[in-house]
């Protein structure tokens, strides 16, 4: 069996606030296999982005990883000193942010941003790095890359800019790319293109993708496996097709009730009454229990762990006998 390229073990992220500790991510575990696309889905505030930030070591203070481990291949990275972690970012884990309009430094030419990143990680000369950068731009589908590389970000359209962002994230050939809502800010018409470009270029380079989105449609079309998050916890994890067809967690069931078409916003389509609790008001037991149509006594008192209910599938719900307490 191949070793996972990225392995998250019992990750818990906390924010000390005046209301006490807010647990933004609680006890999450998952693996990403080489070349695999793992979709992470959930409403805003479910902890998806925070998980991504935790993996790459960029949680804004005062937030911190309170528990758990993150392994990149056979190297544990959640406790690395900042300097070591910097060598991993960009080099071994790439990250793509939501808004291409704000992800690029407006004052520097694309070339400078690319070359700077390449040379930070790879022992290349200025001109070698430039060649590599042009190649990358070409790969992500920027026409006339050799000329446009010396443009400023504002001279590109939104979709083009996100391609540049992808090129930047991939310029040192990382093994994993964390794409945090990479298309949300884009025009519907280019969303699909960007997803395709990203998927294709990663596939070509053998990079795995952790695709964070609240757009179930994107997941359905892109991901191999999907992780459903609710209130900072993992609700369900399994192959995309299986989860869509036969979701096990009542929340996932609600989520899959109607798979939105690509580009439609999940927030408007949740068919479950009520709203996700605020992080400072997560109920005892299962976080979903106040909204769950199948709630019973145990749900209100005991918290289910995301446990394997059949090979390759995990769910955190007391409906399944295999589920253990967290």
């Amino acid at each position: 069996m191949t070793q996972p390229v990225l392995s998250v073990r019992n990750l818990t992220v906390e924010f000390p606030t005046r209301h006490g500790l807010l647990t933004a991510v609680q006890d999450i575990s998952f693996d990403i296999m080489p070349g695999e696309v793992l979709g992470v889905v959930g409403e805003s505030g479910a902890g998806k982005s925070m998980t991504g930030a935790a993996i790459i070591g960029l949680i804004d203070p005062p937030g911190r990883i309170a528990k758990g481990e993150i392994w990149l291949g056979d190297r544990r990275i959640d406790n690395l000193p900042p300097a070591e972690m910097r060598k991993i970012r960009g080099r071994r884990i790439g990250m793509i942010f939501q808004d291409p309009l704000t992800s690029l430094n407006p004052l520097y030419r694309i070339s400078r941003q690319l070359i700077e990143t390449i040379r930070t990680h790879l022992p290349l000369s200025q001109s070698e790095a430039r060649t590599r950068a042009i190649k990358l731009l070409d790969d992500v589908g920027i026409p006339d890359a050799a000329r446009r590389i010396d443009d400023y970000p504002h001279q590109f359209s939104g979709g083009m800019r996100q391609r540049v962002v992808i090129a930047l994230a991939l310029c040192a050939d990382p093994e994993v790319v964390i794409a945090d809502e990479p298309t949300t800010a884009l025009d519907v018409s280019v969303q699909a293109q960007i997803i395709d470009v990203m998927k294709e270029i990663c596939a070509r380079r053998g990079a795995a993708i952790m695709l964070v989105t609240h757009d179930m449609g994107v997941i359905a079309e892109t991901a191999d496996r999907v992780a459903v998050m609710y209130a900072g916890r993992l609700a369900e994890l399994g192959p995309v097709a299986a989860v869509i067809k036969d979701a096990r967690h009542p929340y996932s069931q609600g989520l899959m009730g109607a798979i939105p078409k690509l580009g439609e916003n999940l927030d408007r389509l949740v068919h479950i009454p009520g709203a996700m609790p605020r992080l400072n008001a997560i109920p005892q037991g299962c976080a979903f229990n106040p909204r769950c149509p199948q709630v019973f006594e145990k749900c209100r008192t005991h918290r289910p762990a995301a446990s394997e209910i059949e090979p390759g599938r995990r769910a955190a719900c007391w409906l399944y006998p295999e589920v253990t307490e967290a």
Partner: protein, 321 residues
């Protein structure tokens, strides 16, 4: 200038139901207040000074504005020392006219605060109105207003206030200048501080103007300006409050500087700045209390108001520079 649409990523704060926003905001503010001892002290000091100023006519031991109550021979009495001629004793001593320093400071703070508050209120009114007009109309009007604001911002308030004071001196008949002095001061300081408000409000207005409800209102026949006012004001309340607080401190200092330069309120009704101007003459002659107490009061007042403004800025986190 900053693009007003550009938001900040605020990853830690979970989304809140819109209806409770206000309550939550309030409690947030209260919480950050409680957590900052400096702010608590600043609040207490500011409140004490404001209270002292407002209540001066009732709590001050003497009325320093009533000249007939003064005894010149009481002049230069050191703090808590018996005057050699009159035998009177004053907690903070007396000035060169025999005025009780404590009462003078109370009444002086009253004038300084009054001038500062009125000038700030004037600046807010003017700035908000012009900002709305500029932001709503755009084009030429916007250009003219913002260009004037630019000029205004680049000249120090003192110079502008001096100018306005000069104009007033020329326009107002000699025998009314004294009674008008305080209003001239208010207008002068107000006119030198409006631009910040105008800029903030203009930005917010330009954002709001794009929104659907404005055109909807237009279709429904409501004057969009009214709608804008209703929607823009709550949005800019935070920044205006912050700029206003800091502006209040600035206005108080500006009043002091103008009075120091001799173009402030009449010496028979001294503000803190006038008291400092008077006291500064006695810097080398040993009557330190005439300068020290008003100066400390002024600094405390400006500092506590500034600290409050600073804290408000952090607490409301408005997009400010």
């Amino acid at each position: 200038m900053k693009n007003p649409t550009q938001g900040n990523a605020a990853p830690i704060v979970p989304p809140r139901p819109q209806g409770r926003l206000k309550a939550a905001l309030d409690s947030d503010i209260f919480y950050s207040w409680r957590r900052s001892p400096v702010t608590i002290i600043a609040t207490v000091v500011a409140l004490a000074l404001i209270l002292m100023a407002v209540l001066a006519p009732w709590i001050a031991p003497y009325d320093p504005f009533d000249p007939s109550s003064l005894n010149l021979m009481d002049g230069f009495t050191p703090p808590m020392t018996e005057n050699q001629f009159t035998g009177s004793t004053y907690l903070l001593g007396t000035d060169n006219q025999g005025r009780d320093m404590l009462s003078s400071i109370m009444y002086g703070s009253r004038i300084s605060l009054f001038v500062g508050a009125m000038a700030t209120a004037f600046a807010i009114t003017l700035g908000v109105s012009l900002g709305l007009v500029a932001g709503y109309n755009g084009g030429m009007i916007d250009g003219v207003i913002m260009r004037i604001a630019d000029i205004q911002l680049s000249f120090p308030g003192i110079l502008i206030a001096l100018l306005i004071f000069g104009i007033a001196r020329g326009v107002i008949p000699a025998n009314q200048q004294e009674s008008m002095a305080i209003w001239v001061l208010i207008i002068a300081i107000g006119l030198s501080n409006w631009a910040q408000f105008a800029r903030t409000v203009r930005g917010a207005t330009m954002v709001e103007r794009q929104k659907d409800y404005v055109s909807a209102a237009q279709i429904m026949g409501v004057h969009p300006f009214l709608i804008l006012l209703r929607h823009v004001l709550p949005n800019v309340l935070g920044p205006v409050l912050v700029i206003g607080t800091i502006g209040l401190a600035l206005a108080i200092i500006e009043e002091a500087t103008l009075s120091f330069l001799g173009v402030g309120v009449p010496p028979t009704q001294p503000s803190l700045g006038t008291l400092i101007r008077i006291g500064q003459q006695f810097l080398f002659s040993g009557e330190w209390w005439i300068l020290l107490f008003p100066a400390v009061t002024l600094i405390l007042l400006a500092l506590s108001v500034n600290l409050l403004g600073d804290w408000l800025r952090d607490a409301l986190n408005p997009k400010l520079r």
